[in-house]
């Protein structure tokens, strides 16, 4: 077997073609943000997903106007009608922003153009948060318009039963939902797996938790120390009942269960997404 060495040059002085070494500047983070934002909108499926946020918010507003008796209409009626579908779609946005890279295998290109996976994934996370908050701002405005319109139609003053603090808690609950989606996405790196896991978390876990609480007194007494969902729902609740506030213990329970249900698996998932082989 011949073993002719082709190597002859030196490793220290890589020849660049017509360009002195070191003249290439690093990719700024803003550019990564812009490209990742563009990737969320530049396919039909992505565009429809984003459009569906607005469409659903508009439909929910109209639906509320039609279905809820005029005398019962308050700002809260609109916000909860819009908030429910938002709370489902926004996590899907978060999931797909990550998993589509692996599902469509565009990760191969993405991470050979930007080898620091952490920068790409932070950009995606940041964009998800921005999109979430913008969507909620739209929801708040649409709800307000609906509320004013309904009141004007009925010839009475509009009822503003959710203050800005309530809106902040409402936004927080939604952003946590997106965080759950993001966590499942980096953990599974698969669209179907993450979506199924999300619906299990979002629809099945609460049912099981309620059922167990119904038969198990100890669990019922301690549910807020265990079930993250119940604490997130309290954010909606506090926002909507006008309490506008959680007690220190309630915040603590939210933080503690959030640590277990969200922060720890998110950390594991991020480690996997940053290190796992991409093929």
């Amino acid at each position: 077997m011949s073993d002719v060495t082709i190597a002859s040059g030196s490793v220290d002085t890589p020849p660049h073609r017509g360009r002195p070494a070191g003249t290439i500047s690093p990719i700024p983070f803003a550019r990564i943000l812009w490209i990742e934002l563009r990737k969320m909108f530049d396919t039909r499926s992505g565009l429809w997903l984003m459009a569906s946020i607005l469409i659903v918010a508009a439909l929910a507003t109209v639906g509320t106007l039609i279905l809820v008796p005029e005398s019962d209409l308050t700002y809260e009626s609109f916000l909860s009608a819009i908030g429910f579908p938002m709370n489902t779609i926004l996590p899907l946005v978060a999931i797909l922003s990550v998993t589509s890279e692996w599902g469509q295998r565009t990760a191969l290109t993405t991470f050979t153009l930007v080898p620091s996976r952490a920068r790409v994934i932070s950009a995606k996370a940041g964009l998800c948060a921005i999109i979430g908050v913008s969507a909620l701002a739209v929801a708040a405005v649409l709800g307000a318009v609906g509320n004013i319109g309904a009141a004007a139609f009925a010839g009475v003053g509009a009822t503003w039963d959710v203050g800005w603090q309530g809106l902040v808690l409402f936004a927080m609950a939604n952003v946590i939902g997106m965080g759950i989606g993001f966590m499942l996405a980096v953990l599974t790196r698969s669209s179907p797996a993450a979506v199924v896991a999300f619906f299990v978390y979002y629809l099945v876990v609460p049912i099981v938790s309620t059922a167990v609480a119904g038969v198990q007194e100890w669990y019922a007494d301690h549910v807020h120390w265990i079930d993250f969902n119940t604490n997130v729902n309290r954010l909606f609740g506090a926002g909507f009942t006008g309490d506008d506030a959680l007690s220190a213990q309630q915040w603590f329970q939210l933080g503690l269960t959030g640590l277990v249900w969200l922060v720890v698996p998110l950390t594991v998932g991020l480690r996997l997404a940053l290190r796992a082989e991409i093929k």
Partner: protein, 310 residues
């Protein structure tokens, strides 16, 4: 320039890449040849930081891939032309790459032109592209940043013979401008047409390396003459064994010059004298392929990757 040193990847028991070392020089096109499952893609993934080596290092232009500030400007990479979102247009995929690298818009058009994709084709969604068109688009993405190095995994897959020649000319031009090219293939023929230097990998290990000439002329010399028996006797007398093929041609390890002199001295008229075909390399390669196909029976991945340039 690409410098790979002791690159190794183990998946549990399986050593997919085993102590691979080589240097790819500027101005040369290096072909990475090996049957399916030999470890070409795994090696390339490690070179570009998509997979962590078990041991060993890979440097591109003297740096690890992850240390390149804007890799697309220095290394054009195509690992799998099919790994694109089918819902994006070719143009959009190029724009995303150009945008990431911070390039002016016009560079996208130049790259499309270099790979002979028409503006009309670029406006179509890549879900509707043929494999050949995807390969061209993938090459355009690799070329758009005007890099110094190209790393291409099975880029000729899905190209017709004219496409393969086109690829040869493109890569030849790139290398002539001082670029370094590493491309893989599981087909000896493709590598023969395109590469200057050949690196043969089998079961994760480099089994042969050299310039194309060195490896291909290992096959010896082929001589056709009016009197093969007399020529064979004369060659034997001069200390060179030879074999007579069914066509009547003599096949010998002696070089063409020696055969010519012996023929002249013996007075046998030669009708054809040339370096034998790449029999040596081809036989070695066939043996490797047989080996790995036997292995392939217990490894589904091989069947899966076959024909998809994975």
């Amino acid at each position: 320039m690409i410098t790979v040193d002791g690159l190794t990847k183990r998946y549990g028991q399986l050593t997919a890449v085993d102590e691979v070392s080589f240097t790819a020089e500027p101005g040369r096109v290096m072909g990475f040849l090996g049957p399916n499952g030999a470890g070409k893609s795994t090696s390339m993934r490690m070179m570009v930081g998509l997979s962590e080596p078990t041991s060993g290092t890979a440097h591109i232009l003297g740096r690890r891939f992850g240390e390149l500030p804007n890799p697309g400007r220095e290394v054009g990479v195509l690992l799998d032309a099919s790994a694109q979102h089918g819902g994006r247009t070719g143009r959009e995929i190029l724009s995303l790459a150009a945008g990431t690298m911070g390039l002016p818009k016009a560079w996208g058009d130049a790259a499309l032109e270099r790979v002979s994709l028409t503006p009309e084709e670029a406006r179509r969604r890549v879900g509707n592209y043929s494999l050949g068109m995807r390969q061209r688009l993938g090459i355009a993405v690799a070329l758009i940043g005007d890099p110094d190095v190209l790393i291409l995994d099975e880029p000729a897959n899905g190209l017709d013979p004219a496409g393969i020649r086109w690829m040869r000319d493109l890569l030849r031009g790139f290398a002539n401008d001082g670029g370094t090219v590493l491309l893989s293939s599981h087909l000896l023929h493709e590598i023969e047409v395109i590469a200057d230097d050949i690196l043969v990998i089998g079961n994760g290990r480099i089994v042969a390396r050299g310039t194309k000439e060195q490896l291909l002329t290992e096959g010896g010399t082929l001589a056709r003459s009016a009197d093969p028996a007399a020529l064979a006797a004369a060659l034997r007398a001069a200390g060179h064994a030879s074999k007579q093929a069914s066509s009547g041609a003599l096949h010998t390890e002696a070089d063409a010059g020696t055969v010519g002199q012996v023929a002249l001295a013996t007075g046998v008229a030669l009708t054809e004298l040339r370096a034998a075909d790449s029999t040596g390399l081809e036989e070695m390669f066939l043996a490797l392929t047989d080996d790995s196909q036997r292995d392939g029976l217990r490894d589904e991945t091989d069947t899966k990757t076959e024909g998809t340039a994975a």
